[in-house]
């Protein structure tokens, strides 16, 4: 079955890059420009396997999004990966404690993203 991913970033350019990489891996990708929009999409009922989440976004930050998602047992299977310019180890700990599964510091490349997906067992079938 086709895997589905949410790409949550207020930068359209970043959404395009990440969607391009995931699309190339065989993912069906949907974009959202902040955590609030992403929550709306999830709450509409569609199931996703993976969300790549920026930290700093207007309205709802990526961190708050992770906290909200982890309050809901029905989203327990959703793998959450922070992709952010926040590179402080304290930030990373906070995100992991809140329930993020992985963390990628920007700048990153495609290879790094693939390696992180492999760690989570959600590398898709192609690529």
């Amino acid at each position: 079955m086709t895997k589905k991913a949410l790409v949550i970033d207020d930068s359209r350019a970043m959404r395009t890059i990440l969607s391009g990489i995931l699309g190339g891996l065989g993912y069906e990708v949907q974009g959202a420009e902040d955590g609030g929009r992403a929550l709306d999409i999830l709450n509409a009922g569609e199931l996703f396997d993976l969300a790549l989440v920026d930290w700093n976004m207007p309205q709802m930050t990526g961190y708050d999004f992770v906290c909200e998602v982890r309050k809901e047992p029905r989203f327990a299977d959703l793998r959450l990966v922070m992709v952010t310019t926040e590179t402080e180890i304290s930030r990373m700990s906070e995100a992991l404690e809140a329930g993020a599964d992985e963390y990628i510091m920007k700048p990153f490349n495609k290879e790094m993203l693939l390696e992180k997906l492999m760690l989570l067992g959600v590398e898709a079938d192609r690529g």
């Binding site: 402080e88 990373m92 992991l96 510091m105 990153f108 390696e115 492999m118 760690l119």
Partner: protein, 285 residues
């Protein structure tokens, strides 16, 4: 961009000289397609050492007895690319099956594990193993863990011993929870904590010379290194690996490598998505 004027002056004679030097000292085989690779890797040494050009650097190598510059050249020619948890699946196999099995077997006897990483580059490989061990052996302090790591490159061994990595290096392959747990951040560098660092003993060892410091071990990592050698050298090294591996131990190779067709005294054992090699008759599956 490379500067044509400086690198295109690698003549066949110079290339052959470097090729022979490299083959003799590090056993690495360079085919004719590697001319550009050589000149681009030697250019920084030629510049840094004030030789002016790669040709002048090679002329220097020719005219002097083997010394510091020769070593620098040999170390620059070797590919040292590596990463934490490279290809992940072998480490997953270690974590979920191989180490727990070994622990069960050795618990009532020696309470000792010996592991050797034979081409460790800047240390990510043995340090990844060390982190896995800390994760899966709860009473690790009551065990004797011998974790050896070697490489022929002195520069790599020196780097590895420091245990200091760039953001780019810890961003690759290393699970975030392990980064947070086992590293301290100092600006843009990430320092491995002592509890992991002190587990690994680093030393220089050319795989194609006598192995004076390698005991009998449970696991040998020879990943992404035999590919640089010719078939005879690979066979010679694999034969030695067999002699140093315990009967129930494993050889771990790179994702695209195998002992099959090289040495039929290893058996392939599949663990999930990773293949390990165990001493034993027949080539296995």
């Amino acid at each position: 961009m490379r500067n044509r004027a400086e690198t295109s002056d690698l003549t066949q004679v110079d290339f052959d000289f470097v090729r022979t030097l490299v083959k003799q000292h590090s056993s690495i085989s360079l085919d004719d397609s590697k001319g550009y690779l050589i000149s681009s890797r030697l250019l920084p040494i030629a510049r840094g050492g004030g030789f002016g050009s790669v040709a002048a650097l090679i002329a220097h190598l020719r005219s002097r007895p083997h010394g510091k510059v020769h070593t620098e050249v040999l170390e620059a020619v070797a590919t040292t690319e590596t990463s934490f948890f490279r290809d992940f699946h072998p480490y997953e196999a270690l974590r979920d099956q191989v180490i727990p099995d070994l622990i069960r077997k050795r618990r009532e006897s020696t309470r000792m594990l010996s592991i050797w990483s034979g081409a460790c580059s800047s240390g990510q490989e043995p340090y990844s193993v060390a982190m896995v061990l800390r994760q899966v052996i709860p009473d690790i302090d009551t065990w004797t863990i011998q974790l050896l790591a070697s490489d022929f490159s002195g520069a790599m061994i020196e780097r590895a011993r420091k245990g200091v990595f760039k953001q780019l290096e810890v961003n690759r392959g290393l699970p975030a929870h392990l980064l947070v747990r086992y590293f301290d951040q100092h600006g843009v560098s990430w320092w491995l904590k002592d509890e992991v660092k002190r587990m690994v003993t680093f030393f220089q060892q050319n795989l194609d010379r006598e192995w004076t410091r390698i005991p009998q071990v449970d696991l040998v990592f020879l990943r992404n290194v035999l590919i640089y050698f010719d078939v005879e050298t690979r066979r010679r090294i694999l034969r030695k690996v067999r002699r140093h591996l315990r009967p129930d131990g494993f050889l771990v190779m790179g994702a695209a490598e195998t002992t099959l067709s090289l040495d039929d005294s290893f058996r392939r054992v599949q663990f999930g998505r990773a293949a390990f090699y165990q001493p034993g008759e027949g080539s296995g599956q």
